[in-house]
Structure formats: structure tokens, C-alpha cells
């Protein structure tokens, strides 16, 4: 990691560790974020993502490693001197100030003169499309407006990196969907590096240019959303990002890239080994198949190349375009399959006997971690 390479990166972490007592919250994390990227850190709660963000903001000191912003180490820089701004989980807008003063707070801290403050605040309010709310009190704003003011309060200071700590968590579903798109557009408009922390995989996939999947203190995989979804490198990523049918079993045959797995219930599944995993016959593995890659055949399957199984439709889970069928196989396993339900008489009905096929390309297996 030499200096010339890191100059293009807004944020860079190398070997960052943090322990709380005997608990290792963050274990040796290294990554770099090029300028203008929407970068998400996705992980279940308690995986250490908030600790990592607090270290970047300066509220915690790492036990080891270095954090560089615009190529310069900030370990010795106090939080109020770092040009990294943060949107807090509950936004932390100041309730005793109106919108204008909330946004002007940061500018006044660095001693901007009055006219300049006025101009910049109005400018940022225009950019978040709330030009007339300056004199309003915080409690008079709606959830989405508060969100935008919290972002405006940071963006008015022109930060190198904007950190967002699950800011959509408190919003209701409809608003959250709308804010996802809006955040992406805002990031594009401000052209600033956003680091977004979330446990919601759809937020990460929809908005991000790059996503890091974090689990118990370390990064499992960094990549763009499509890579993570289609080419997961670990079992955790395959299971956490998107929905998948998951079976554990034993490798029956291993020939070149393709494997045949026998699941615990006795079903034979053809699949490929997950990236950079060498799997040999007899090993215990986990197989992941996404519901949308499974084809549901209403007549008996004929192809011999693909994995094909027969089962009975147990239940239909109607959810508009994301409807699923639960198919119980002869072996007793339940398989989730995406289906299209049009509401007509042609639809699959519970009790029907169907065939399931998928190409081995779309079934991924990983060696089972003991324990």
C-alpha cells in the first residue's frame, strides 16, 4: 500500500483491529474505497460494523492497524478535526435548533462568516429539494424530510467521506423503498464517497457500487452487488445475501468442476464448488440454490443433464411478483421455488405433483464449517 496508490482512495483501512475486553469486535480488516463510491458494509447485528464505523469517525481508537482518509492517516486526528461526517442511526438532529441552525452548526464551528453560512445552507437545502424548510422546527418535519436534513447537515461541510449508520431503519416500508432510491440519487449528485452500514441486504444491493459482507468481525467478501449475489465466495455470503434453499450433505462424486451431493435426507443434487474452494469426495458440504433459478415443470422432466426432482406442492406463499411455492420432495425436504401466480385457473395449486430442475451452474456448495 504505497502512497501513490492510496491518493485516489477516499478511505482506506489496513489491518484494523478492535477488542472490547476479550471480545474481538473487529478482526484485521483491510479495504480501500475509491473516490465517489457508494460503499456498503452489510452484516447481521453484532458483527462489528458499527464499531468499524465509529473507528472511522474517531469515536473509538483501533487497537491495531491504520485508517487513511485521502491517503493520510487520521489515527492521531480528533473526531471534530476529521473530514468524515456521519448520519446517525436516529439522525441525532438537534431538537432545540431549527433546520437552518442545524445545518449551519457545522459551518459556524469552522468560523464561516454569516453571509457565506446563509448562502451555503440555502444551497444545500435546494440540493436536497427542501428549499423552504429553513425556519421549521425539527419536530415539524416528516421522517423522510428529517433524513434529508441529516444528510444536508453533513454535506454542507463538503466531507471526504459520509458515513451512514442504518439511517433507514426507523422508517416504514414504503418510505424506506423511496429513500433508497433517493439516497442513491443524492450520492450521485454530491459525488461524495458514501459508506453505508446496514443489516438489510436489499438496501445494500440496490444502492451500492460495492458491498462488503461482514460477519463476526471480519469481511467475508467485497464485491459489486451482482458478484456477491451470483458468485458468493463463502457459505455465509451465499446464505446472507438474497434468499436461497440450503441443504447440508456429503459429496458423492467429484469429477472436474461438477459435483454430486447427497443431502442428509437422501436427495441427490448436482452442483459446482464455490469459488476457490477445493472439495473432495466424502466431504461434508452445504449446497445453496436460489429460488428463482429453480424451474418448476408441471409435466414429468425429461432432461438428463440438469438436476431434476419430483415433489408435491405443499403451500403457496403469495407475495405479488415475489410469490413462492413450497414443494415437498419425496425425501421430505422442502424446496422454495419462485412461481408466477396470475390469479387464473392455470396457476399451480397445492397438492399438484411437479418436477423441479435447475442447472448445476446455479447450485453452489461450500465445505461445511465444523461446529
Amino acid at each position: 500500500m504505497n502512497d501513490t496508490a492510496s491518493a485516489d482512495n477516499d478511505l482506506e483501512c489496513s489491518g484494523v483491529c478492535k477488542n472490547f475486553g476479550s471480545v474481538q469486535a473487529v478482526k484485521d480488516i483491510s479495504f480501500e474505497i475509491p473516490s465517489g463510491t457508494f460503499f456498503s458494509i452489510l452484516g447481521p447485528s453484532g458483527c462489528g460494523k458499527t464499531t468499524l464505523m465509529r473507528m472511522i469517525a474517531g469515536f473509538e481508537d483501533p487497537d491495531a492497524g491504520d485508517i487513511l482518509i485521502k491517503g493520510r492517516s487520521v489515527l492521531k486526528v480528533r473526531p471534530n478535526r476529521r473530514n468524515v461526517k456521519m448520519v446517525f442511526q436516529h439522525l441525532a438532529l438537534f431538537p432545540m435548533m431549527d433546520v437552518f441552525d442545524n445545518i449551519a452548526y457545522g459551518l459556524r464551528c469552522i468560523g464561516t462568516d454569516r453571509d457565506e453560512v446563509k448562502r451555503k445552507v440555502q444551497d444545500v437545502l435546494d440540493r436536497v429539494a427542501l428549499p423552504d424548510v429553513g425556519s421549521r422546527e425539527i419536530h415539524q418535519l416528516s421522517g423522510g424530510q428529517k433524513q434529508r436534513i441529516a444528510i444536508a447537515r453533513c454535506m454542507v461541510l463538503d466531507p471526504d467521506v459520509l458515513l451512514l449508520d442504518e439511517p433507514l431503519g426507523a422508517l416504514d416500508l414504503k418510505l424506506r423503498e423511496a429513500m433508497k432510491i433517493e439516497l442513491k440519487l443524492l450520492q450521485h449528485q454530491f459525488d461524495t464517497t458514501f459508506v453505508y452500514i446496514t443489516h438489510d441486504q436489499s438496501e445494500a444491493l440496490v444502492m451500492s457500487d460495492r458491498v462488503a459482507v461482514m460477519n463476526s468481525g471480519s469481511f467475508e467478501q467485497i464485491g459489486n452487488p451482482q458478484e456477491l449475489y451470483h458468485r458468493p465466495k463463502t457459505a455465509f455470503v451465499a446464505g446472507f445475501v438474497g434468499d436461497a434453499n440450503r441443504w447440508s450433505g456429503k459429496v458423492d462424486q467429484s469429477d472436474g468442476g461438477e459435483l454430486v451431493i447427497e443431502t442428509e435426507a437422501g436427495m441427490a443434487v448436482q452442483c459446482r464448488a464455490g469459488a476457490n474452494a477445493s472439495i473432495s469426495a466424502g466431504q461434508k458440504v452445504e449446497v445453496f440454490v436460489r429460488p428463482e433459478f429453480i424451474k418448476l415443470n408441471r409435466s414429468a422432466p425429461t432432461t438428463s443433464k440438469a438436476s431434476s426432482l419430483t415433489g408435491t406442492v405443499d403451500n403457496l406463499l403469495f407475495n405479488g411478483a415475489n410469490s413462492r411455492a413450497l414443494v415437498r420432495l419425496g425425501s421430505g425436504d422442502l424446496v422454495e421455488v419462485d412461481v408466477t401466480l396470475t390469479g387464473g385457473t392455470e396457476d399451480v395449486a397445492p397438492g399438484e405433483i411437479v418436477g423441479l430442475t435447475w442447472s448445476p451452474e446455479n447450485a453452489v456448495c461450500f465445505a461445511q464449517v465444523s461446529g
Binding site: 473526531p79 461526517k85 438537534f94 452548526y105 464551528c109 447537515r153 453533513c154
Partner: protein, 289 residues
Amino acid sequence: MKNRDAKRLTLILLFAPFALWIVLLILLPHIGMGVLSLREKVAPRVYEFGFDNYLDFFREPIYWHILSRTAGISIVVTFLALIIGFPVSYYIAKIAGPRSKGALFMFCLIPLWVSDLIRAFGWILLLRETGAISGILQWTGLVSQPVEFLYNDAAVIVGLVYTVMLFMIVPLTSTLEGMDDAMVEAGYNLGGNGFTVLRRIIIPYAMPGIVSGCIIVFMMTAGSYLTPVLLGGKYSSWFTQTIYDQFITRYNWESGAAFGFLLLIFTSLVVWIGLKLSGQSLSTTVARS
């Protein structure tokens, strides 16, 4: 219909003790005092309606002097209680862990288990000529003869601050506890230093608690009797002492009643000015905490 009657009865029963308290112990005595204060003594056992008792207060500069002195020292006491109480409250509300929080609160409460009188005597034991502090100073050789620390304004202020401290800490702690830690962090994150965060975020947030603590402390101090008399001596010139003198020593109830009202009006005025200056109202401060 019956249900509504029962509800009404419950309300009346619940409200009765409160109404009795207000009417019998607050309203009636004050009306009595008001009537009393407006009686002018024109001859032995002959009274007329008039404002003479109030005018007496303004005619005699000593009374005016004592009242303003009482108010001045009370303001100093309030201010000191705030300066000392704020860091303590901040520590209890924001820095201490959940377990030590309870213990610290307990420590603040313990002095209240002892009566005012005993606490004042405690200070006397420390501060008098033959007391602990004087003794230690002589023992270390800093002074050559006994020093009297009692019977001056400083002793009165120290004693009063000690007495009222808890009433400042409780409302402040409860207000500060409601403050999200993220707000302070946001204050730093957006570029503020420690002083800016205190001035622009913590203090404005705690303002309702500060004002309600100050009102309680100021009213208690201005109306206190025991501590100024015991620690300040006979001539500590506290206004309540003047009222006591009128009632008990001079047996001039009319004048005492008038002075009582003047103290009430004057302290209310100070509180009102304080509320105006801080931009708060009674409903956002005392009523909330």
C-alpha cells in the same frame, strides 16, 4: 347513568384531599395574611384599611437593603449550586455506568436523611473558632491563633449551597438522561470542540432542567430561615429573620404579613425575570421535571 355517577364520585374523592390542602393550607392563610397586611394600626386596638404596612417597607431603607441582600445572596447560591451541580449531574446521567448511577444518586440523597438543624450544626462544628478547620490550620502552623469561620456571608453561602444541592441535581440529571449520546457525538462529528458542544448542544438541551432547578433552589434559599440564622448569626440580615422579628419579637403581625407578601412578590418577580431571560416558561420547566 350509574357508571357516570360512580366516575364522578371517584373524581371528587380523589380531588378532595388536594382541594382541602390548597384551600386550607395555601389559600385561606394567604387570604388571612393579605387581610392582615392591609390593616393599619391607628390607635391601640383600632385598625383601618390602608397600605401603610407596605409603605413602611419603602420608608425604611434597612428593610429594602435586607431584602435585596437576601435576593443577591440567593442568586449567588443558586448560581454556585448550578456550577457544582451540573458536572455532578452530567457524570451521573451520562458517564457513570448503570450500577454506579444508583449508588451516586444515593450518596446525593443521604444528607437529606438528617434534619436541616443537624446539618447546620455539622457546619458549625467544622467552622467555629474551636472547630475542625481552625484546629487543622493551627496544627499545620498556617495560622498562629484560632480563626472564626462562622457568622459571615461565606459561611451562609456554603451552608445554603450544601442544603439545596440535591434539588439542583435531581431535575438536571433527569433532563440530561433524556439526551441521546449520539447528539453529543454529532456535535463533535460536525466539527465542534468540547466548549462548542457544551454551549450549543448540551446546555440548550438541558435548559428546562437548569431553569427548573434554579427556580426551586432560589425559592428554597430565599425562603430559608434556619441555615442563615445558625451559620450567619443574629445579624446575618436574612429577610425571613425580619419577618420573624415582626411576628414574634415585636408582635407586629400586620407588618410581618406585609413583609411576607413582599418576599413572595419579590422572589416571584426574580423568577419571572429569570424565565424571560432564558426564554423558558413554567410549563416547559418545573411542570415537566
